[in-house]
Amino acid sequence: MRIDSLTMNNYRQFKNVDINFNLAGENDLHVVIGKNGTCKTNILNAINWCLYGDEPHFSKESQRLPILNVEAINNTNDGHYCSVNVMVYIKTNQGKYMSFERKAKYKIQKGDGKQPIHQGTEFQVEATDDDNNTKLFSDEKADKQVERFVPKKIREFFFFDGERLDHYFKEATAQNMRHAIFNISQIDLIERIEKRMVILSKELRSEAGKQNPAIEKTRESLENYENNAEELVKRIEESTKQIGIAKEKVKECEDNLKGMPDVEKLESERKKYLNDRDQKKDNLKEKFKQKNSILFDYGKIINFWRPINQVIEIIEDKISKKELPPNIDADLLNKIYNSRICTVCGTKLSEDALQNIADLLKTFKLSKLISIELLTSLSPLKALKDKIEGFKIDIEKVKRDIIQYEKDLAEIDKKLSNIDKMLSGYDENKIKQNHIDRKKWELILEIEQQKVGSFKLQLLAFKKKIEELKKELEREIGREERLKELRKKIEFCQKAVIFVEKIKDQIMDQTRKKIELRTKEIFFELLWKKGTFKDVEISDSYDLTLIHALGYPCLGSVSAAERELLALSFTLALHEVSGFNSPILIDTPVARIDEEHRENFGNAFIRVSKNKQTILLFNPAEYSQEISNILDDNCSCRFASKLMTNEFETTLEVL
């Protein structure tokens, strides 16, 4: 199937635009190039709106505008009606034509801030049958026709933003894969049967409960446990999804940080070193002060070492000669001699006595004052002498400390310089942000893993209890003869649920294997590096693994282009396995691919377009020389979207 043309009337910026996707040559490849804001993405929205009635790819610019073309609103009188309609013409594999048309009618209101009033939407499908008769379908029947073109549930694999390719194997891969395979497997019916059987089983048990209060009590308890278990399964799924996302995010951060310095750690080390440096500098300053103080103090006394020793010798000599301390008070003797009266007994002294005093005074050499001066000096002088002798010890100690601090400072400066070298040339904020993000996601990962572990344990306990209660209920129901029929029905429902679950798993498994095989085949067919990879695997738990030629899993380390190619291969495999070989329309398909790989990707699209209609919407930057060289001559049509000067209308020019 292919889209033959797309007609848009009054749809957003497209006033009256027809795009004919004519096939020219062997490549059913069509390219639309338009600047951002020229409503290129609204082509994607127009198809979605026409087929499914919604616009899942809104840009901010579009959100501000009504679906009805602004120019058309301006040209319509107040109170009059105006319609928007989009038609998608398709050509089936059998060469028949179908048209899908959605039309919405609006009543125009003039005035500030007044929006057109929606009057109703019509959707109809026109198809030709085998006898070339035209048939019209509307309402539900029209929707069913759409389901035969691209089912709504799997449209995301046919019409999508190129970003999807980039993200597909980056976040919660297993969940994405399971979701895709489940949808593609088209096992809704089986699931509905399963659900119905579960409900029926519950209803039957409820009926049994009405017959006997003991049964009702057990039933209620069982239902309670079943509900809790169901809730736990949902929570496990949710947490598992979060784990997938967190793992990818941690990996993404780690990839971003590969070869980058651990800025946070380095910053913290740097801070510590800076503090240490300040501390050491202060200490060094203090040591220099101490050294100066020593130099000053010793400078004051060192030259007196010899004189001090001499004076000490004099004093000690006098002490040894018992001249110190003085045993006679010379002043008192002088006083007695002069007064001629004994100051002790008050008697007048004889001439002999006076002569004795005079003789005594002649032998007395030191005055009391001098003696005191000498004696009081001895101890301080000895202390000074000792101090001088300790000069080298004191100064060497402080010098050693200074040398040590200087060494420490040099070492710190070296470390700081190394850190600066490591950090120079990097965007520190970006690196820091990556570290913060990694920590955040690691924490989420840990929390979610703990949650899953705890939920699984609870679930295990619940399942055990459920089994016990089921048996108990069976026994209780079995005891009642009148509930024999009911018991048989319940047993049947339970067996049916198990059977249906098994079938569902088998189908899913078969689909998974088919998709795995086709993904691998398509990937290796489109891949430009033939010898790098060996295999593509989708495990039982829906984890996709790309195996390197050397045998190790390498999805996390491949280039964006290779990862997107794998996602594209997977998408194309889904198309095939689903049986819907409908067109693929990708908005901004190579925006996240570096220029080096764009040429390869362009070639891949050409190969895809040989068997499938491929519509690609590029912005001019994305449609680089590399892409242009490859696609210009290999695509069926190229269009350029241009915004008119009034900014309310976009036109498409054929290039």
Partner: protein, 138 residues
């Protein structure tokens, strides 16, 4: 008998020299008494004793601690060839100290002025080591 001295003096012209000492790390945060004793030591070491031409009070005698007094006494005794009588004349002892400090402060400032900025301490350190080594202290 003359009244005991209550202060020690410097030459009036020396005030600016003592103030200049403040700029050198070695003399920072030291009192005027400490500066005086240091200058006295340098004057004694270099044997430069200059009488004061005009006196200006520098610090109080009460600021002197026993070890400071001992140094001044030692200087006085050595300068008078161990004449113990000098110890009974404080005024004379202090005068001797003032004259050596007067000579010393000039030597210090000359030395400071003739050494590169920040190098004075290194000279002092070297001098101290040379002096200490010459003392042959075991």
């Amino acid at each position: 008998m003359a009244k005991d001295r209550d202060r020690l003096f410097m030459d009036k012209d020396d005030r600016k020299l003592y103030e200049k000492l403040e700029d050198e790390d070695l003399f920072k945060n030291k009192s005027r008494k400490e500066h005086f004793l240091y200058a006295m030591a340098i004057g004694f070491k270099c044997n430069v004793r200059l009488p004061l031409e005009s006196r200006d009070g520098l610090f109080r005698t009460t600021d002197l601690r026993p070890e400071d007094e001992s140094l001044i006494k030692t200087l006085a005794l050595i300068s008078t060839e161990n004449n113990l009588e000098i110890l009974s004349n404080k005024d004379e002892m202090y005068t001797i100290a003032e004259e050596y400090a007067h000579g010393g402060i000039r030597l210090i400032i000359d030395r400071i002025d003739s050494t590169p900025f920040g190098a004075y301490e290194l000279h002092c350190e070297k001098d101290l080591f040379d002096t200490f080594n010459a003392l042959n202290i075991e």
